[in-house]
């Protein structure tokens, strides 16, 4: 082992350091480099938009500042077939948060539902909205009380908005969908502890 980065040679580490410095000085937010079997992503802490489209820059490949769609931009270099052994300085913790307005659903917690709760399911497939409009507060938050006819969310399909009633009276214990996420018919949207049941 020649240095702290294990599998990388001194020369490779020097080049990486150069790239980090170059990115730091540049007006770009992140850099992705794909050479042969290695992919390197460096970020200044601002994650690239999830839906950013790859724009091939003529004559710039392979080592170029090319915005690419990426799942989660952390500064990590991987080299196949050996497992990732090198980690460059971590981005600020905030960078790990999903970009605001990103459409890719975050991994959903698979915690088992609280005993005695009922599910409010999506009556149809469509886009889930927790608020009547972007500037308003959500219809309901965790801990909020709903009656059977309370509107808990909107589901939009083909420009038609459907106000979804709770269908059950009680207290919301969990919200299981994110704004602008595509939900399937029958998917659980909320969990409710029915009124009258022991807390």
């Amino acid at each position: 082992m020649k240095n702290a980065f294990g599998a990388l040679s001194d020369e490779e580490v020097r080049q990486l350091t150069l790239l980090v410095e170059t990115l730091d000085r540049s007006g770009f937010d992140f850099l992705q480099l794909a050479v042969a079997d290695m992919t390197l992503t460096l970020s200044k802490g601002t994650p690239p938009p999830a839906q950013m489209t790859a724009i091939p820059l003529p004559g710039a490949a392979p080592a170029a500042l090319v915005p690419r769609p990426t799942a989660m931009p952390t500064a990590a270099a991987t080299r196949a077939p050996s497992p990732p052994t090198a980690t460059l300085p971590s981005p600020p913790a905030s960078a790990a948060a999903p970009p605001s307005g990103a459409r890719a659903p975050a991994p959903r917690k698979k915690a088992p539902p609280e005993a005695g709760t009922l599910d409010i399911k999506a009556p149809l497939k469509g886009l889930f909205y927790s608020k009547p409009d972007p500037a308003s507060p959500p219809f309901i938050s965790v801990g909020g009380t709903v009656s059977e006819s309370s509107t808990v969310c909107l589901i939009e399909i083909m420009k038609v908005f459907n106000a979804v009633p709770a269908g059950v009276a009680g207290v919301i214990t969990e919200i299981c969908a994110q704004d602008a996420e595509i939900v399937e018919a029958g998917q659980t949207l909320f969990r409710v502890r029915p009124a009258g049941s022991a807390a």
Binding site: Q51, T53, R103, L124, K125, G126, L127, Y129, P132, D133, S149, T151, L154, E156, I157, M158, K159, V160, F161, N162, A163, P165, A180, I182
Partner: protein, 457 residues
């Protein structure tokens, strides 16, 4: 024409329609597409495309700055907004003007005055055109409930910023007010970027009759006759025809005159439509709104007049004088349009997007089909459910109805449920055949239609 390259700022069948008009006029086309529409039929027809953002319309088709940037970036000198989306955005028209792009539509001032439905009502009243009892802006459901008490239930909630059925709800019971208000306001905001609502008295036995007008910048305003659009579901038109059946010639002429008066008073420029509601019990008509754009149902007027309205829009935008006078407009025969949508009639016209596996439309000399669909096309969930407009021509209404019925029977769509079986049922129904139509006929007919016929998925 003073422009050679046009940005088509729309999608679906109307994008196909506009591109076709441009090709006929020798204009180059650039189509603005969202990520969901990059491989669409109009995208393949256009000379080039420009991706304007993600699938959600609010982040692509509904952002005027993105649209104008796309036009500037691609060197487009004119912009056609189609219908829906930003077609009636004064902001878009103004941005175009500010950046030297010809907006293929009316002047920003026309859009602003008529686009605000409340101001349009005031303008109509000022010029002696009758309007329905109603309200000004309504800010909350509680306020709406108070107004409803004054003008009497049922009332219709409407979006101040637009038409097309978005943000429209009929409230018949006071208990429904809160839920309806919330849904209507959200719908209006999504469709027009403005959730403001107002109320009008709801006329139960109503016909929806509208007049097509054309105006140039020299102050010439003419009408191209009326269309009957009474068959609606969810306040969106299902079947349209021209001329309107079973109305007196006196009423027809009064409606035409009211339309020309209103459009003339504001020196309207481009293609526009003045919508009226005809109360069949009281035998009176009221101004509803003016749409300052090309309408979905424009082909029925084109069919009976032989005038290409989209091409006329381009000529007017180019500063040309109308090439025909009112006396030179001839009406021949009868035309009907059926909107074929991805919806399940028996489930409250629930939207039903998905992959089209088979697409075999009818072909005949009297048939016109405006569509962006084909076998293998995936209908996205993000946009409205219109798949195709089937238009037939007949020497008279009877022949047109019979031909439409036959055409619908020979239209095969596989993979997704559509309104085809329902439309076929309507064309065979005695009430429609006799011209006994009103805005509630769809509901009545759906109840009569044998179940199972339309339930294909």
């Amino acid at each position: 024409m003073p422009f050679t390259r046009v940005l088509v700022a729309n999608r679906g069948e109307i994008a196909v329609r506009i591109i076709h008009a441009c090709q006929t006029l020798g204009l180059e086309t650039v189509l603005a597409v969202s990520e969901a529409d990059r491989d669409s039929l109009p995208a393949r027809m256009a000379d080039r495309t420009v991706c304007i953002g993600p699938s959600a319309a609010t982040q692509s088709y509904l952002d005027p700055r993105i649209i104008v940037t796309a036009a500037l970036g691609t060197g487009a000198e004119a912009l056609h907004p189609g219908y829906g989306f930003l077609a009636e955005s004064a902001e878009l028209a103004e941005l175009c003007a500010a950046h030297g792009i010809t907006f293929v539509g009316p002047q920003p001032d026309h859009i602003r005055r008529m686009g605000n439905k409340l101001e349009a009502r005031t303008l109509a009243r000022l010029h002696g055109v009758p309007i329905l009892p109603g309200s000004e802006k309504v800010h909350s459901w509680e306020e709406a409930a108070k107004i409803a008490e004054r003008i009497g239930l049922p009332v219709m909630m409407k979006a101040a910023a637009g038409g097309g059925g978005r943000g429209m709800k009929v409230v018949t019971a006071p208990g429904d007010m809160q839920r309806m208000f919330t849904a209507a306001s959200a719908e209006a905001r999504s469709a027009f970027g403005d959730g403001t609502l107002y109320l009008e008295r709801f006329i139960p036995n109503a016909r929806h009759i509208e007049v097509q007008v054309l105006g140039d910048r020299f102050g010439n305003v003419i009408q191209l006759g009326e269309r009957d659009c009474s068959l609606q579901r969810r306040h969106q038109k299902v079947v349209e025809e021209a001329p309107a059946p079973a109305i007196t010639e006196t009423l027809r002429e009064e409606i035409h005159q009211a339309a020309v008066t209103l459009a003339g008073k504001i020196a309207y420029e481009s293609a526009g439509t003045i919508e009226f509601i005809v109360d069949q019990d009281a035998k009176t008509f009221y101004f509803l709104e003016m749409n300052t754009r090309i309408q979905v149902e424009h082909p029925v007027t084109e069919t009976i007049t032989g005038i290409d309205l989209v091409q006329e829009q381009f000529r007017i935008a180019a500063g040309e004088r109308l090439s025909f006078s009112q006396a030179e407009v001839n009406f021949t025969g009868h035309a009907i349009e059926c909107r074929i949508t991805a919806e399940l009639p028996h489930e409250g016209f629930r939207p039903n997007p998905g992959r089209i596996t088979a697409w075999n439309p009818p072909v005949a000399p009297h048939i016109r089909l405006d569509t962006h669909c084909y076998a293998g096309y995936v209908v996205p969930i993000f946009y409205d459910s219109l798949l195709a407009k089937l238009i037939v021509y007949g020497a008279d209404r009877g022949q047109a109805v019979a031909r439409m019925r036959d055409a619908l029977a020979h239209f095969e769509v596989g993979g997704i449920g559509t309104t085809l079986p329902f439309l076929h049922f309507v064309m065979g129904h005695e009430d429609f055949a006799a011209g006994r139509v009103n805005t509630r006929l769809v509901e009545e007919l759906i109840a009569q239609m044998p179940n199972g016929v339309g339930a294909t998925e």
